[in-house]
Symmetry: C2
Subunit: 206 residues, 2 copies
């Protein structure tokens, strides 16, 4: 595209660096900002800069936090003996929304991905092991729940973690893979269906 102005071109270039935003969308957003009051753009720029410069991470679970320790890690009403391992903040929000989990979290900050050059060292795995070993929790850890995506990378990370935690004397579990609630059998892919049969739940003994 031949932009009539260097200012627009620079803005479009920067906006289109964001994931999932191409040049056309970037131009649409830039023209939108130009139609709005100047204060709108200033508020956006300031919010982004402040977020990037001042953001803090909880020193225990590594989730984004406003203080040194996040509200979940500080809470005495949450069960510190169960730690749910997730990829990032969005997964914490998603699990919190279910109201089905009252333990604590550990945010890895990503998953193992050789293609993107992310190895175990780039993730917060050592500090997870330290939480178990050194009793950094208020209570001794009983169980680690691996709640990672059902992708190649997520599974690789789960496998790696299960191996690393094998001799720690804690139960390691992973969230169930199966057909989604409301899903119909005939439209479920074979791998998912196969797994949901293999990991079937026994009604009679429970």
């Amino acid at each position: 595209m031949n932009f009539p102005s260097k200012l627009i071109e620079d803005a479009v270039t920067e906006i289109s660096r964001l994931p999932g935003i191409g040049k056309k969308t970037a131009l649409r957003l830039a023209l939108h900002l130009l139609k709005q009051h100047e204060a709108h753009t200033e508020a956006l720029s300031l919010a982004l800069t402040r977020m990037r410069q001042e953001i803090k991470y909880c020193k225990i679970c590594h989730n984004i936090a406003d203080e040194e320790e996040c509200s979940i890690c500080k809470s005495h009403r949450r069960d510190g003996s169960i730690i749910c391992v997730v990829e990032d903040m969005r997964d914490v929000l998603a699990i919190e929304n279910t109201n089905q989990f009252n333990g604590k979290y550990h945010v890895l900050g990503g998953v193992i991905s050789p293609i993107q050059g992310i190895g175990p060292e780039e993730l917060k795995i050592d500090s997870l092991v330290a939480r178990i070993d050194l009793g950094m929790n208020s209570e001794p850890v009983r169980e680690i729940i691996l709640a990672l995506s059902a992708t190649m990378e997520g599974d690789t990370t789960s496998f790696y973690l299960a191996k690393r935690l094998k001799d720690k004397g804690v139960k390691v579990s992973t969230i169930a893979r199966g057909i989604p609630v409301g899903g119909e059998l005939e439209f479920t892919d074979e791998v998912t269906l196969g797994r949901s049969i293999m990991t079937r739940i026994n009604y009679s003994s429970e």
Copy 2:
């Protein structure tokens, strides 16, 4: 969503004010910026602020420009007797890409939309009339081509402009509506097909 940090919440609120971006996408973009180097966010913020504060508009055609007069208005190789009226900068880019137009442009800055409270006064219509009346062009204007979207708002604006320009002694035309090149007849909607029959092109006499 219960964000664990006010900084993230502010950023997500500001990003999701952009058109077509919801809270979930905004959060994804914010987390992406947090994973990138700080310089990335600073460059984005600076580009947006600079664009909004320093942007200039061509005093003749009102397109975005780096100087007082845009390169198209300044050019002597373009035919100043034909003015193509468009909604915004994107339409200028789109028409320039066709390589089918060698006249000049006039950017209205929007279309008449009573729902959004945009009347003719909000658009650069008076200055279009002045371009014809006062001979602000290098040459007298012969033809005005209305190249507005084939929507209710675009058609309303075209109709309004045609009325305003009726006694100015210039030819007023509008770009053809019809089936797109490569389009199949049976999949074209009735209104478009009807219009393309009504405004059929006579092979024999041309």
